[in-house]
Structure formats: structure tokens, C-alpha cells
């Protein structure tokens, strides 16, 4: 049987990155939303709502990066130098927020605000840098002779800064709706309000990005404004609009789960729209999936493991979420 391994892997890497975006999205979002409350107990609740799962969420980032290295080494080797500074910024941000999960409970009460700031700043910097990477990739990077040939400030453009802010607002929405789902009473009402603001800001950014993007990249223009493509692409914004309505109605009612689920759907649709824009490239307008792929022997070898292990990972990850299901009652923890 002949399988198109690069295509399969392109899909799998896309799934891994999407899993990362939504999973770490809501826990980064919780960090981003830290300043919306000053109450120390509420902050503890917020952090504890993701403490058992954040590490697993971040592992998808390692799978995305490591997977790219393994199956599209050429893409990995030209993208990383191109987004050098944002990647370093993201890593530093992730360090500050990751350790805050532990350090916040180990520090004295007077020093706790320092780790609150570390959690907030780390989360927002990581989210912003991920948005910068996204914007840089969509714009396209300069490659000569299998090597990145641009400068080391090329990633900094008005467009990439805007995608940076867009990602922050998106994660904030995921975090706020997650908290609507996990909290109750006064804090829940608080984050229901926050969700509304986050939703409005995100929709604003989505409109802005959608209008701007075709002018950044010609092949995207072609996909959105020429006839056969239009049939594939047009439903995406339509569905986003419908889901946004669902989200808004859910936020106006007292639904617990619907706001988060609707936010996930918005992310999925946006991601699919982005995928349509980029496909069949892995490095936009430079390398297609097939040009950047490792030899089939590498792809096959890792695919065997992925086919067996990813369902297992999903199963026990789901189990971990199931164990910690339901509302966060108190400030329980092992600390």
C-alpha cells in the first residue's frame, strides 16, 4: 500500500499544534487573566483549576517542535532561525509561568505577588511570541539554498505584532470560558463578564487579520477571491459568525460548558481557515510538505509509534481530565 506519508504527517503535526493551541491556550489564558482579580484566593482557584494538567498541555508543544524536527527537518531548520527572538521570548515566558505553579505556593506570603506577576507576564509574553511566530510564518520568510537568509529582526512587522495581540485575546477567551466552566458563584460571574470582553476583542482581531492577510500573501488572496477556491473557504467565516452567536447567547445565559466549547469551535474554525491558507506549504511559499519532509523511512518509523501511542495518550489524558472533572471546590492541592 502506498501512502502519502508527508501528507499524513503534515496533518498529524497540524493536529499536535492545534492540540497545543487549545490546551495550553486556556491555561496560558488563565495567566493572562490574572490581573483581572486581586483576590488571592480567587487566584489560587484559577491556578489550581489547571495545575494538574498544564504540564501535559505543554507537552504538545514539545511534540509540535520535536515532530517538526523529526519529519520536516528542513522546515524546522529554516523556521527556527527566522523566528529566533520570538522563540527565545516564548521559552523564557514559559519558564516564568511554569515555575510559578510550584513557587507561588512555596514562597512566603509577602513574595507571592512576585510569582503572580511571573505567572501573568510569562503567560502573556509566551502568547504574544507565539502570535509573532504565526504572523511571521504567514508573511513568509526568506530562504536561500536550504538556509534562512533574512535578518534577525524580520519577524517584527505591524502584521506580526497584530497577530501577537490576536493570540493573546484568543487565549484570554479560552481561559475565561474555562473558568466559567470550572468555577461557581461570584468568581464564575466575574469570568462570565471577562469572557464577553475577550470575545469582543477576539472577534475584532479576527476581522482585522482576515482582511489584512490576503494583502500580505498573494497565494492567500487567490484562495479567498477566485472561484473554485471560494467554495471551500467561504463557509469558514460563515461558521465563525454562527459560533460567535452561540457563544454570545451562552454568555448571556447561565450555561457552564457552552461558552468554552463554543470558544474551542471558534479556534478550530480559525485554525482550519489558516490551514487552507497555508496548505500545501509547511514553510509558506517556500517549501511544500513534500519538499521539506524527511525520507519515507523516517516518516514510517515514527508513524507506527504515533498510530499506536497517540490514541493511548488521548485516552489517559482524557482520564486525567476526568479525574479532575467538575467544579473546583476549594483551594485543594498537595502544597
Amino acid at each position: 500500500m502506498i501512502l502519502d506519508y508527508p501528507l499524513i504527517w503534515g496533518f498529524l503535526i497540524a493536529v499536535a499544534i492545534f492540540a497545543y493551541v487549545i490546551l495550553d491556550g486556556f491555561d496560558l489564558g488563565i495567566g493572562i487573566l490574572y490581573p483581572t482579580t486581586k483576590d488571592a484566593d480567587e487566584r489560587t482557584l484559577m491556578m489550581n483549576s489547571v495545575a494538574p494538567v498544564w504540564d501535559g498541555n505543554e507537552t504538545w508543544l514539545v511534540l509540535g517542535g520535536g515532530g517538526l524536527f523529526a519529519v520536516f527537518p528542513l522546515a524546522y531548520s529554516v523556521i527556527m532561525p527566522a523566528v529566533y527572538a520570538p522563540i527565545i521570548g516564548m521559552l523564557i515566558g514559559l519558564i516564568f509561568r511554569g515555575v510559578a505553579f510550584e513557587f507561588r505556593f512555596k514562597s512566603s506570603v509577602e513574595r507571592r505577588p512576585f510569582w503572580d506577576i511571573s505567572f501573568f507576564a510569562g503567560s502573556i509574553v509566551a502568547a504574544f511570541c507565539q502570535g509573532l511566530v504565526l504572523g511571521t510564518l504567514v508573511q513568509g520568510i526568506e530562504v536561500v539554498d536550504r538556509t534562512y537568509a533574512g535578518g534577525w529582526w524580520d519577524w517584527l512587522t505591524p502584521f506580526s505584532v497584530m497577530t501577537g495581540f490576536a493570540v493573546i485575546s484568543g487565549y484570554a477567551l479560552l481561559g475565561a470560558t474555562w473558568l466559567v466552566m470550572k468555577l461557581e458563584g461570584v468568581p464564575q460571574a466575574h469570568f462570565r463578564r471577562v469572557s464577553k470582553y475577550a470575545a469582543l476583542i477576539l472577534i475584532g482581531f479576527l476581522l482585522l487579520v482576515s482582511m489584512w492577510m490576503p494583502f500580505i500573501n498573494e497565494s492567500i488572496m487567490e484562495k479567498w477571491f477566485s472561484f473554485p477556491y471560494l467554495l471551500y473557504t467561504f463557509p469558514v467565516p460563515l461558521l465563525v459568525a454562527v459560533t460567535t452567536l452561540v457563544l454570545w447567547r451562552a454568555l448571556m445565559s447561565d450555561a457552564d460548558y457552552t461558552p468554552f466549547l463554543a470558544s474551542l469551535v471558534i479556534f478550530l474554525l480559525t485554525y482550519v481557515g489558516l490551514g487552507i491558507n497555508i496548505f500545501p506549504y509547511v514553510v509558506p511559499n517556500v517549501y511544500t510538505l513534500w519538499e521539506a519532509a524527511a525520507p519515507d523511512s523516517s516518516l514510517k518509523f515514527l508513524l507506527v509509534g504515533a498510530v499506536i501511542l497517540i490514541p493511548m495518550i488521548l485516552a489517559y489524558t482524557a482520564y486525567a481530565y476526568y479525574v479532575f472533572r467538575g467544579k473546583i471546590k476549594s483551594t485543594e492541592g498537595y502544597h
Binding site: 495545575a51 520535536g66 523529526a70 527556527m80 519558564i95 501511542l309
Partner: protein, 469 residues
């Protein structure tokens, strides 16, 4: 690429990985220790094991979090600073790292939450299962990443394609490349020893305060058993690893030994300073025949010297020579502490010997120093190559200019020193809390009900002091 950028990228990698390795070296051993403790608790029902378990669980969580965040940095270093290396070797070592993520990282992360927070939610047996799974995950992680590192040292099972990439030819040969089994055993034992010395030091610290502290006795006794059993095995494993290196990377062994000329019989240079300019090891103190005996297992076997190899292929001899001696020296000290502990135990004075406890405290960080010295030996000894004999370090770096690498290096150094410095401080503070007064003891169960050890049984009135906090 200018050589400054290469050196900066090398230093950045060395710095970030040396900081990173501290945490996994500790958590690999600690995860297994925790699994054993919880198993003993379930098996014997003795409360003291649970107390020791909870004491170390807090420390495990702290080190694991730091291991995770410093590890994510490593996953991206290949691309940011070593993109040429990534392009050329990704097809071969990338999938191995992919397997590390799929088999180990997700497993650890998936069950860590249950291990840390889930005791009251899933029940004892399932919680024990989660602890064991986390321990297995740490070991699997070691398996894959050491396979990757070993392939860079002793590449096998590959072919080259027309754009100069390594491509896989035989996965079995790639994974089980010639130096892998030796390096895996050597490193996993090193992790166990590192943990044993930390646990021993913490146990000793609390015993010095109160030698009837039952939890401290458990820690100290278990650590002492590990030291006396594992240190000799580790020395044997190190010897085999050295022979393997002699076979596949003789220039590295020449640098480790400080030999410039091949000779047989070859003396073992205990101390000295390899002067590369002069082409000789100065101020040396040597034991005749011993190098031949160790490396060839015969009295007059020929041991290669650096002069056998072209000068441009020499690793930085002085660093390799010195770091190797630090590692071996610590190994010898570890054995002495282990023997001392066994001797005290036989005499029935394990918990009374204050000098043994002081020595154990001094040796607490010894494992970390030995691990970093050992890795320095093998990694610097691999120079001037990233993939030994095939891909030069200077041909592996990214097209990133020196100022960018400088800037990121400065940031990493500052952030690591602050964040991990604070983290290590919190770890010390957790260690300093008495394990008998530690939090989370089962409700309604008196602290010492089941935890009476023979020493306490003999002197019950003094045993009451173990309630001190």
C-alpha cells in the same frame, strides 16, 4: 559562520543543558524512590513510608517543574542555534526524540497530575499505579535521549543523501548504536546514585538534629543501601563504558588519560596538566602499567595517544582530562561513604555515627558534580564534531549572527540563575523541614503509631523527641 558565533552557541548549549541535566538526573532517581516508598507503604502499612513519600513528593514536584521548563528550551535549541545540524540529522535522530515525547513525556505529564493531586480522588492503588507510571516515564525518557546522544558519539545505521543529510538505513542499528547500552546503564545508575546521595544527605541532616527521627532513619538507611550496592556496579559500568569509548573514540580516551604518545605498557596519570602546545602532560603523577591494565586488561597493552590523530581532530584535552578526574574522584569518595555506611550498619551504629552523617551531608551534591563532570568529559571529548567523525561542530550552527546569540545567552544565564536559583532555594527549604512534622499525614493517625523502629523501641522515652519539628 564566524567562530565567535560558534563558540557562543556552544556555550549556550553547554549552559542550558548543564542546568537542565541537574533536574532529570535527580527526578529519574527520585521517581523510582517514590514508587518504592509508596509500594512499601501499601505493602507494610507503615505510616512512616507515607510520610517520607509525601516529604519527597513536594521536592519532586519542584524539580520536575524546573526539569520540564528547562527541557522545552532544549527541544528548541536544535533549531535556534543549530539549524544546520537539525537539517542534516533530523531524519535520523528526530524520530527518536519523537518517540521520547510520545512514550515518555506524555506518560509522565499525564500521570503526574494524579500523582501530585489525586490521592484522594483515585484511591491508593491507582495512585500507586500513577507513581510507578511516572517512574517508568522518566526511565523511558532516558532511554531515547541517550540513544540520540550515543548516535552522535558513535553513529551507525545511516546513509547520506545527495543534499548531505543523514538518512536512516537501519533503525535497529541507529537506536542500539555501539555506545548506547553502556551510556544508558552508566547514566541511569548515575541518576540513582545522585538521588541516593541527596536523600542520604537530607536524612543525615535530620538525624543530626534528632537521631530518633523515624522518617530520617528510613531515608538514611535506604540511601546507604543504594550507595554500597550501586557505587561498585557503577564503577564496573564506567569501566565497560571506557573500553567501549577506546574502541570507538580513541582520541577521546587519549585526552581523558592525558597521553600524547601511544605507549605500551602505559602508566595511569593520576594528576597533571595536559599542555597541548607543548604536546605533553606536565607535572604528572603516574602509576606504572595501570592505564594498560584498565584499558586493555593486560600488563603491556598499547594505549593510544593524541599524536595518533591529526591535530585538528583533537578534543580540548585539558578540559576532558580534568573533568574525567573530577568524576572518577567523586566516584571513589562515593564508594568510601558507602563502605563507611555498611561498616556502621554492621556495628549497629548507623544512626549514631555523627561523622558519617556529616560526611553524607558534604557528599549530598556529589552526584550532580559527577554527572556534570562526566557529561563534560564525553561531550567535550566528542569535539570538534557534533556527529563524531562526520559532521564538524563548525558546520552545524545556524545562520544567526553573534550578537543575537550573545543576547539570548545573556538572557538565559540571567533567567536561569534567578528562577532556578530560587527554585533550588525552595527545594532546600523543603528539605530542611522535619519529615516527621511534615504536612499531609493521614487524618486521625498518630504520627508515630506504626513507625517505631528497633532503635526507638529500645529507648522509647527518648523516642518521644521525634515529635519535634
Amino acid at each position: 559562520m564566524d567562530s565567535l558565533a560558534v563558540d557562543l552557541a556552544r556555550f549556550q548549549f553547554a549552559f542550558t543543558i548543564a542546568f537542565h541535566i541537574i533536574f532529570p538526573a535527580f527526578t529519574i532517581g527520585l521517581a523510582s524512590f517514590l514508587a518504592v516508598l509508596e509500594g512499601l507503604w501499601l505493602w507494610t502499612g507503615r505510616d512512616v513510608y507515607l510520610r517520607v513519600f509525601k516529604f519527597w513528593l513536594v521536592i519532586f514536584a519542584l524539580s520536575f517543574a524546573m526539569g520540564v521548563v528547562s527541557g522545552i528550551v532544549m527541544a528548541y535549541q536544535f533549531g535556534t542555534n543549530w539549524s544546520a545540524f537539525a537539517d542534516k540529522t533530523g531524519s535520523v535522530i528526530g524520530p527518536l526524540m519523537g518517540y521520547e515525547v510520545l512514550t515518555a513525556f506524555f506518560l509522565e505529564a499525564g500521570f503526574l497530575g494524579i500523582m501530585l493531586f489525586g490521592m484522594n480522588r483515585v484511591g491508593k492503588k491507582l495512585h500507586f499505579f500513577a507513581t510507578v507510571v511516572v517512574a517508568i516515564g522518566t526511565a523511558l525518557s532516558a532511554f531515547w535521549i541517550l540513544s540520540v546522544n550515543s548516535w552522535m558519539q558513535t553513529p551507525a545505521g545511516y546513509a547520506m543523501n545527495d543534499v548531505g543529510q543523514f538518512v536512516p538505513a537501519d533503525w535497529w542499528a541507529i537506536i542500539f548504536n555501539p555506545s548506547f547500552p553502556y551510556r544508558l546503564v552508566h547514566m541511569v545508575l548515575a541518576a540513582y546514585l545522585t538521588t541516593a546521595f541527596v536523600v542520604g544527605a537530607v536524612g543525615a541532616y535530620h538525624l543530626l538534629k534528632n537521631r530518633f527521627n523515624a522518617a530520617a532513619q528510613v531515608m538514611f538507611s535506604m540511601a546507604m543501601w543504594m550507595m554500597i550496592v550501586v557505587t561498585p556496579i557503577q564503577m564496573l559500568a564506567g569501566d565497560y563504558h571506557g573500553l567501549n569509548t577506546l574502541e570507538h573514540q580513541p582520541a577521546k580516551v587519549a585526552a581523558m588519560e592525558g597521553h600524547f604518545d601511544s605507549q605500551g605498557p602505559a602508566p595511569l596519570i593520576l594528576f597533571g596538566w595536559p599542555d597541548v602546545e607543548a604536546g605533553e602532560t606536565k607535572y604528572k603523577i603516574e602509576v606504572p602499567y595501570l592505564s594498560s591494565i584498565i584499558l586493555t586488561h593486560s600488563l603491556d597493552g598499547v594505549v593510544p595517544g593524541l599524536n595518533e590523530f591529526p591535530r585538528e581532530d583533537w578534543p580540548p584535552a585539558a578540559i576532558v582530562f580534568v573533568s574525567f578526574r573530577i568524576m572518577v574522584g567523586i566516584g571513589v569518595l562515593m564508594l568510601l561513604v558507602g563502605v563507611w555506611g555498611l561498616w556502621s550498619r554492621i556495628r549497629g551504629r548507623l544512626y549514631e555515627s555523627e561523622w558519617l552523617q556529616r560526611a553524607s551531608i558534604v557528599m549530598g551534591p556529589a552526584g550532580f558534580v559527577a554527572v556534570i563532570a562526566g557529561w563534560t568529559t564525553t561531550e567535550v571529548g566528542r569535539q570538534p564534531y557534533t556527529v563524531y567523525g562526520l559532521l564538524k561542530t563548525s558546520e552545524s550552527v545556524s545562520p544567526v549572527e553573534a550578537p543575537a546569540v550573545w543576547a539570548s545567552l545573556v538572557i538565559f544565564v540571567a533567567v536561569y540563575c534567578i528562577v532556578f536559583g530560587v527554585g533550588i532555594f525552595y527545594i532546600f527549604r523543603s528539605m530542611a523541614k522535619s519529615p516527621d512534622a511534615s504536612q499531609g499525614v493521614e487524618e486521625g493517625v498518630p504520627v508515630r503509631t506504626a513507625g517505631i523502629t528497633p532503635a526507638q523501641a529500645l529507648q522509647p522515652h527518648e523516642g518521644d523527641r521525634s515529635h519535634d519539628s
